[in-house]
Symmetry: C2
Subunit: 204 residues, 2 copies
Amino acid sequence: METLRLYDFLPSGNGYKIRLLLTQLGMPFDRVEVDILKGETRTPEFLSKNPNGQIPVLEIESSKYLAESNAILIYLSEGTEFLPYDRFLRAQVLQWLFFEQYSHEPFIATSRFWISILDKAKEYQEKLEEKREPGYAALYVMEQHLTSRTFLVAERYTIADIALFAYTHVADEGGFDLTRFPAIQAWIERVKSQSGYISITQEQ
Amino acid sequence: METLRLYDFLPSGNGYKIRLLLTQLGMPFDRVEVDILKGETRTPEFLSKNPNGQIPVLEIESSKYLAESNAILIYLSEGTEFLPYDRFLRAQVLQWLFFEQYSHEPFIATSRFWISILDKAKEYQEKLEEKREPGYAALYVMEQHLTSRTFLVAERYTIADIALFAYTHVADEGGFDLTRFPAIQAWIERVKSQSGYISITQEQ
């Protein structure tokens, strides 16, 4: 197999999900930095890879591209210990992945982007306030679930944990107070102790 | 197997996805109407089924619940003609499902909800304007893709089509003008001509 190529933006939690899983799978990959702040996901060249204009994009073979971070996680983890084989457990993993993209990321990641990546907290103050309640609601759903569990699904580390960890563990960079969520904090430490763990700012 | 039970809200496109697939699979199910306008997804009883407080929820066996419409689509279509077996084609289906929940549904479905379900177009006028550009951007991505294709993935009808069809074919109810998108319109007619098709207002 050719070496996988990841089109990525280092501060991105969505990119980090893929970097973390590939590293934990021991799969080598080339990383191509795409500066979304300079409009590099809006060029004709990039749009030919992902017409939706977002990183991460995984180039699986020459000119064979896959977008959407959580679709990439599933693709890469099929047949590995990171995705359960049991049909209902696998469906629970998928449930958390869709929860992340619909009920978590648009509030928690977007707040972090405005505050800590763009450094425009004042300019986005009103919009940040709109993100607060749904963001905390998502964290509350996680907290409740993790109070009686070690990981999100099947009491073991899966891509559900990777997908939710990416933006949850840096939620404070979006103005969310994680000290209110002891079960989430304990889970964050468990994820960080997994073999092959890399931090969000590590390239691989 | 026990009969599947679907917790649903008839005007919901997310609920419709599951109704349509189950009907096309020929799988009988009981439908339980949950009136989200009356707060019925916020009761302790409903939250015990889905802590995230959203329909649809599929009860697979007694007290075994699955939430997130697109996770349910994948769960039900595994091993059927509605989900490709090939790893890359399957990943492309997943890519469209995440696109739908992140880049399409929050703009197109939410606009329809405010205008046509709540009947509060005036009250939500400013927020509706914010949804317009990203909503049209999602439709444009679909239009480009469908210009040279009959269906979203692998030139055949899959759950990617079901997931995107649900809110696209009623996008006009959210104020989006579909006459600008001839390839989408032709695709809508192809989906409607599929065996076992039911409309969004049909219970099954």
